[in-house]
Symmetry: C2
């Protein structure tokens, strides 16, 4: 809808890992891919990226895998989105004009401002750790089937 496909996978993967590693466990890449219905190698790349940016943590070798530490759990969904898609969604013009601004607005500027601000608020308010309970209770889902 508003994110790149890569970013959609990223958010789902992070939420999944947050839930599965709530108790300190580590989650392997295959389990993650299966858990969110994504191509294994593709989500591996994405998590590599998020790992570099310290949004998720990982360890190699036996019993290794991905997890999310206490600090990272407090990060917002906006941090994931910014890491993957940049700030396009938070600052971009609805009609794609690079120099669209309050002082030189596109015809839809003020309407889109409302939409952007709502997206901003939503993604900044929600933390990575916020979804565990609802997922555990089976009240929400991050997998197709």
């Amino acid at each position: 809808m508003v994110f790149s496909k890569t970013c959609e996978y990223a958010i789902r993967a992070v939420i999944y890992v947050a839930q599965k590693s709530e108790d300190g466990a580590k989650v392997g890449i295959k389990e993650i891919a299966a858990g969110i219905d994504s191509p294994v190698h593709f989500i591996a790349k994405i998590l590599q990226d998020l790992s570099k940016r310290e949004i998720v943590q990982s360890t190699k070798g036996p019993n290794g895998g991905f997890y999310i530490d206490k600090d990272s759990r407090k990060k917002s969904l906006a941090d994931i989105v910014t890491a993957i898609d940049g700030d396009r969604i938070f600052t971009g013009c609805g009609l794609g004009l690079k120099n669209c601004s309050e002082s030189k607005p596109c015809p839809l500027h003020s309407e889109f401002k409302i939409i952007r601000d709502k997206i901003k608020l939503t993604l900044h308010s929600a933390t990575i750790g916020d979804f565990n309970a609802s997922l555990n209770a089976g009240l929400s889902f991050i997998k197709e089937r």
Copy 2:
């Protein structure tokens, strides 16, 4: 921000043609491309498409060009978006889940519903003809430079 680049061009082109053909004049493809800062051949393709879908009108030959008739002026921006990008933006899940729904929601379902509904309202409320005055008055812009 939320549309494909093709769709951004489409909206800008339609708004431009609506303004320029307000008095019944026809607008050539080169003028349109220059008027909205888009690649000539690319916007030509897009307008061809919009013409087939009767969102814009055109005539060939000398003094030909694109214009927008009285009926089409009443159409909404949502009609343009649907023609180019489909209904993805109006109905799609924020996390890309195909079977996300009220009864099997993604963790962000209700938040995204608010965003989608605002986008829907914005695009359905605005008609193609709505922007002439503001553009004529120099209060808004659809061109970079």
